[in-house]
């Protein structure tokens, strides 16, 4: 027997894995069963939107951002708990729903989980939420005792009256606190008084991940649920011309073969395996359109032209590079390129939807619950108030799950069988072919050097695809895409780490039909390779030590220089021990990061022995999770450097699975020594910045070992013998 467990507190669906066979045809009542409105009445007291406290003192902290492995969930809970003064051992968590957020005037603010903003984007209001709840609990206790609030204090979920020594617990006064008006003013702790923020506490979400109990989107099972597999036109922007489902419709378990939107075909069956097997038997004719003529070679030619084309998109201009060239003792130029890459989350895209003429509900692993809800409503043809999204654990995100294409598809499929929940799960092949790819770019780096080998002029010309032009055209400023210039900008979270007397950073936008997207680290990854490898080239070209060369350019960038000096020192930069070293530094997502790679190259084979890394994120909420993010960033960045490449042939992406799009494994992974060195005073992100320094540190070390400059990736296609 199959059962569905609706956790009253978690808003998630679990599968009780006890029975055999699927129970089909059960009626699903979904009009109120999952609605939070009903749920409120039976809930333990909600002190405020962020904090719910049970009579047994269990503290449930509401988390608006999505947990996809990056540890934000635990960090956000730590911040609420810090101000709440609750017992950390009694903390649990839950996701509010996007629909509830809308209903309550966005009390939880943004659900968007990207741009390494989970903590740095919400630290203020989540801490205020915790502090407000604490004040209400203390006030409730003071009221009960008839004593002034000022004489009472809270610690570890216990409220104490100083005069009498009376104590009570949060659980005992939570009901009364919930009825009080929230405080008008909240004062947050001075960071020096933090007890929980800054501590390497264990994650709140580990145990279920060790036993198979953790329910991911692809694990969702609802009563009477059917399964679907889909194929969209392999050329982006192409359409479905026709399909023949004669064979597929007769295959076991198949309920129907349906057209989805104007570009896809899906099979709905009892099990997903049946659906997918039948989908492979559907004969589909595509109208691939003009894009069928596009290949990697044609894209390369277009980007190459952009390297020397006229452009008005200037992001950073200091002095006059042309004058600098004119008086230079030496000019030096190098071209770099970076390929398309797929996010390749371990769990392929999926969503489960149920639709009726007056309600639509979706269970989905998403990085943005609110945009998933908007997409569901649009696809459902219903007002957003009649729709709801339940966020389910993500099997990886990396930016891919900020998009809602698969939500729209799932709802479109569910509409074909009203009242029946249908789970759409993409094959790995569909996931590889229909990504939102790390955009392809090239760079021409031109330097003007004076007679002492000082960098006097630098022109960074980027030619390539804009993410915003495809996904968020409204965010383009005068047709210019500011995201393209990450880590090269004059100021802000992605400012350049160097001062050059004459500087020009510009962009020739060259878009293709391949859909680009926000890929963990975004354009910092390409730009840091261009910049960090080129500076290493200049140091070598002028006979200077790379660290010394960096120092000269970084006098006005002390925060970035400190992390660079740290990795150089810890790695033993300049030592002659048979290891070859490469450096890299970057400011990204508000944090300062650096790496020193230690490698050897023997018979053309690279061995990365160790990477020494440093991160200054300003405030470090959970150093252990920051370390994990830094380790993981090297895995993601090195995987991209070693193997990551999506090529285009006849308009479609050629790599369809991990056999042709390999990912790093444990044998390739060097030991990483991480120094988390929070200097305080600012909030930087940690999920993404470090990826950018992974590749350039290793590429510079490869040069040190071999004298070969690698300017095109991935490394698997390059000769380093």
């Amino acid at each position: 027997m199959e059962t569905v467990k609706i956790s009253r507190r978690k808003f998630v669906i679990g599968t009780a894995a006890t029975g055999a066979g699927l129970s089909m045809g059960m009626a699903l009542t979904f009009s109120s069963k999952f609605a939070l409105a009903d749920h409120h009445e039976e809930m333990e007291p909600e002190v405020n939107a962020w904090v719910v406290i049970d009579a047994d003192d269990t503290v449930t902290i509401r988390i608006a951002r999505s947990e996809m492995g990056q540890g934000t969930l635990t960090g956000l809970a730590q911040m609420v708990a810090e101000e709440l003064e609750c017992d950390w051992d009694k903390v649990t968590w839950e996701y509010p729903t996007p629909g509830e957020n809308l209903k309550r005037d966005r009390v939880w603010q943004s659900f968007a989980t990207g741009g390494s903003r989970g903590i740095r984007g919400s630290h203020q209001y989540v801490r205020e939420g915790g502090a407000a709840a604490r004040m209400m609990l203390v006030e409730a206790a003071a009221n009960e005792w008839g004593v002034p609030i000022s004489e009472c204090s809270a610690a570890s979920s216990v409220i104490t009256h100083a005069g009498s020594g009376k104590t009570t617990t949060f659980g005992k006064v939570a009901n009364a606190a919930a009825k009080l008006s929230p405080p008008m003013e909240v004062t947050l702790k001075d960071p020096k008084d933090w007890k929980l923020i800054g501590q390497p506490v264990k994650r709140l979400d580990t145990l279920d991940k060790l036993t198979g109990k953790q329910v991911f989107g692809s694990d969702v099972v609802l009563p009477g649920m059917l399964n679907a597999s889909i194929k969209a036109c392999p050329v982006h922007g192409g359409k479905r011309k026709s399909f023949n489902a004669f064979k597929a419709e007769k295959m076991p378990g198949v309920r129907s073969v349906v057209a989805v939107d104007d570009n896809a075909v899906a099979v709905i069956a009892d099990t997903w395996w049946q659906a997918n097997t039948a989908l492979n038997a559907v004969e589909i004719e595509w109208d691939k359109g003009e894009s069928e003529k596009v290949s990697s070679a044609t894209i390369d030619k277009m980007l190459e032209e952009g390297l020397s084309a006229e452009t008005e998109f200037v992001a950073n201009k200091v002095g006059d590079v042309k004058e600098s060239y004119a008086k230079a003792a030496k000019t030096y130029t190098a071209d770099y390129s970076y390929p398309y890459q797929n996010h390749a989350t371990m769990e392929p895209m999926n969503a489960t939807a149920v639709w009726s003429k007056d309600r639509c509900e979706v269970w989905v692993p998403t990085q943005n619950g609110e945009s998933a809800l908007a997409a569901a409503a649009e696809a459902a043809g219903l007002p957003v108030e009649q729709c709801e999204v339940y966020k389910i654990s993500l099997g990886g995100g990396f930016g891919r799950r900020g998009q809602a294409d698969y939500v729209r598809q799932a709802v479109a499929i569910a509409k074909t069988i009203p009242g029946t929940p249908i789970k759409l799960l993409w094959t790995r092949e569909e996931d590889m072919l229909h990504g939102y790819y790390h955009p392809i770019t090239k760079a021409r780096m031109t330097a003007a050097l004076d007679e002492d080998g000082n960098l006097d002029g630098l022109h960074v010309r980027i030619s390539g695809q804009s993410i915003l032009a495809t996904l968020m055209a409204e965010r383009l400023g005068g047709n210019m895409d500011p995201v393209v210039f990450q880590a090269l900008a004059p100021e802000g979270d992605h400012s350049i780490s160097y001062t050059v007397p004459n500087l020009l950073v510009d962009h020739a936008m060259r878009n293709t039909h391949i859909t680009p997207g926000f890929w963990r680290g975004v354009n910092v990854n390409q730009n840091a390779i261009y910049m960090e490898c080129f500076l290493d080239e200049l140091a070598h070209e002028t006979g200077q030590d790379s660290l010394v060369f960096h120092r000269k350019l970084m006098k006005q960038h002390p925060e970035a220089l400190v992390v660079l000096e740290t990795v150089a020192k810890k790695s033993g930069w300049g030592e002659s021990d048979g290891l070859h070293r490469g450096l890299s530094v970057c400011k990204a997502f508000g944090s300062y990061v650096a790496a020193c790679a230690e490698v050897t190259v023997t018979d053309g084979k690279l061995k990365i022995h160790r990477i020494v890394a440093a991160t200054d994120p300003g405030y470090a909420v959970n150093p252990q999770q920051i370390e994990a993010q830094v380790f993981g960033s090297f895995a993601y960045g090195l995987s991209a450097m070693l193997y990551g490449e999506c090529t285009v042939k006849d308009g479609q992406i050629e790599q369809e699975n991990f056999d042709t799009y390999p990912s790093i494994k444990i044998a390739d992974m060097p030991h990483v020594d991480v120094t988390v060195m929070p200097s305080g005073g600012f909030w930087g992100g940690v999920g993404e910045p470090t990826i950018a320094v992974a590749a350039p540190a290793v590429l510079n070390a490869i040069f040190a070992a071999t004298g070969r400059r690698i300017r095109n990736l991935p490394l698997k296609d390059q000769d380093i013998s």
Binding site: Q70, L210, G212, S218, G632, A635
Partner: protein, 171 residues
């Protein structure tokens, strides 16, 4: 019809014999801890044990499993989530998103079945699962820690086996 011994229970399933074991486990048996990642035995998210050996179930037709072979999934690795590998993973907070971890844990447990004290080179050769979050450093540390946990509490592994035997008897 297939007769399978899964986590010590005998299960009869009505299924086409060409169906991969992964989908029988997930959809017929209803054990969703074992994951789909690639379908071509490249990523290891679908790793289960057949008679203690790691098998990538996404390409393993159910017809190839005999009823005497013992299939173990992540749900059956231990009764209380206390297999030495699971204990080590908990101690180090190894998972990030967690999707690859059932496969990673099953592959690591199988490695320890064959090589109770694996070297780093053994780990490099035997653990070929993909993890996109990049938990590899804690996976490696976790395998070594699991060796120590097994050594300090040999009864854990023994009791796990005993539990399986008991369940099997019930089945």
């Amino acid at each position: 019809m297939a007769k399978l011994n899964i986590n010590g229970e005998i299960r009869n399933v009505e299924v086409d014999g060409t169906t991969p074991l992964l989908w029988v486990i997930r959809e017929q048996i209803g054990l969703t801890g074992t994951k789909y990642g690639c379908g071509i035995a490249q990523c290891g998210a679908c790793t289960v044990h057949i008679d203690g050996q790691a098998v990538r179930s996404c390409v393993y037709p159910v017809a190839a499993v005999t009823e005497t072979q013992k299939i173990t999934t992540i749900e059956g690795l231990s009764e209380d989530g206390d297999h030495p590998v699971q204990q080590a993973w908990a101690e180090l907070d190894t998972p990030q998103c967690g999707y690859c971890q059932p496969g990673m844990i099953m592959a690591s447990a199988a490695l320890l079945n064959n090589q109770p004290k694996p070297t780093d080179a053994d780990i490099d050769a035997q653990i070929t699962n993909i993890c996109r979050c990049g938990t590899f450093q804690r996976v490696r540390e976790g395998i070594h820690l699991a060796v120590n946990i097994s050594a300090s509490a040999p009864s854990i592994a023994a009791s796990t086996n005993a539990a399986n035997t008991t369940e099997e008897a019930k089945g």
